[in-house]
Amino acid sequence: MNDILIVGAGQAGMQIAVSLRELGFGGTITLVGSESAGPYQRPPLSKAYLAGDADVESLELRAPSFYEDREITLLCGDAVTTIEFAGQQGVATTASGVTLHFDGLALTPGSEPRRLPIDGADLDGVLYLRDLDDADRLKARWDAAHNVVVIGGGFIGLEVAAGARKAGKTVTVLEAADRLIARAVAPVTSEFYHQAHVRRGIDVRLDAHIARITGGPAVTGVELGDGSVIAADLVLIGIGVIARSALAEQLGLELANSAIVVDEFARTSNPRIVAAGDAVLLPHPLGGEGSVRLESVQNAVDQAKVAAATLLGTLEPYTAVPWFWSDQADLKLQIAGLSTGFDDIVIRGNPDDEHFSVLYYREGRLIAIDSINDAPDYMAVRRALGQKATIPAELAGDTSVALKSLVIAGTA
């Protein structure tokens, strides 16, 4: 293999390029991204960047000289529009007309916000948050906004809501489901976040039915199913993301709900093409049932490392412990493991103290933790899961004993 093309210059694409060099690959590496900025950190966009505590340069994942020194060619602000990979040689063309030849291919296309199909969603002041351009649009309106309505009670929505409340704005969160962050955490954690945000002055409405967004040309409010209108001069919609699959479709790869299906070695249904990051559906990394999508920095990095090794002919299965964090107001949520399929939980500490953990079990075995302002518990479980160890459920609730002292070696 001499010429590797990586399509998508986010966290995963950047990491594949870096890992290829670390593994000694001496051929050409071309990293193509449609955004004008080079690879940057997305998590601060909904937090420090919005609050003005981080600038564009501080978001850069690597300095420009890093890529030059390692002879990684970055093509930013250009998108691959057509791609073919038949036989040993592939060819891609970009929107600006550049032709790229390659004999190794990695797809890291990422995802884009799910759009809300509703009247008024195209009004001025109705925004989404995924990339730097989105964040700049949001920032441009931030100081002047007084009434912020967030549609979607997931991580992005709640992080932005918390920041808006901290900045003194009137904030309403509308969630269609009967609890917040329902896809990622147990009801006890959802309920905690509901109460914690209410305590800080956010109006949280569950089971919300939204009829339309009102105004013209600028947004003025959000009308609910009962005809009531919540005043708004800024509406942020955060209702999940959809994997970008256009190029994978051109290549005839297997997709599931628009995500690219890969095996534990990050190989797509065409084993010569690897894929990593948000756009990928992968086998459960800790031996659980089924396949998962992991929309996180951790997954982008760890799966990219697996993908780079695979491209160079070394098959190392993905077995990293998933982890995740979310900062909302002064609440630090840290999650390790995957709680999907849990049949028991242990609550360690008291949620009313805003300092507690929820441990998830399946068939008596520890599978995950949500820690709120409790880093030691989070670290103890993250380490235990990495060693295939467990913590007995009947002991885990005793806060007089450090969780890490309760870890017992696994048999799996």
């Binding site: 340069e57 964090w325 900062d327 670290m379």
Partner: protein
Amino acid sequence: MPDITYISPDGVSTTLEARLGDSVMEVAVKHGVAGIVAECGGACSCATCHVYVDADFMDRVGEPSDLEDDMLDGTASDRLPNSRLSCQIKMRADLDGLLVRIAPEQL
């Protein structure tokens, strides 16, 4: 702009210029200093940017926050009195010449 010197576990020394306000972790990662992993990008969530601060700078660098203190209990290499997570040290003019030793194990 203040300088930072990083000493790797195998003794290699790298000196870089920092922007004021950048963290000791950011400067290292952006320039590819080996040994600082920083999986979480500076959110104090992973304890993989562990360094030992040189004695001459301990007073000026200051104490870790409660969260950092908790995270330091979970580092892969031994926690010592001069252990810090480099993502939590922001560069100031008076830290010019800062010397840190990178912990041998991060993961």
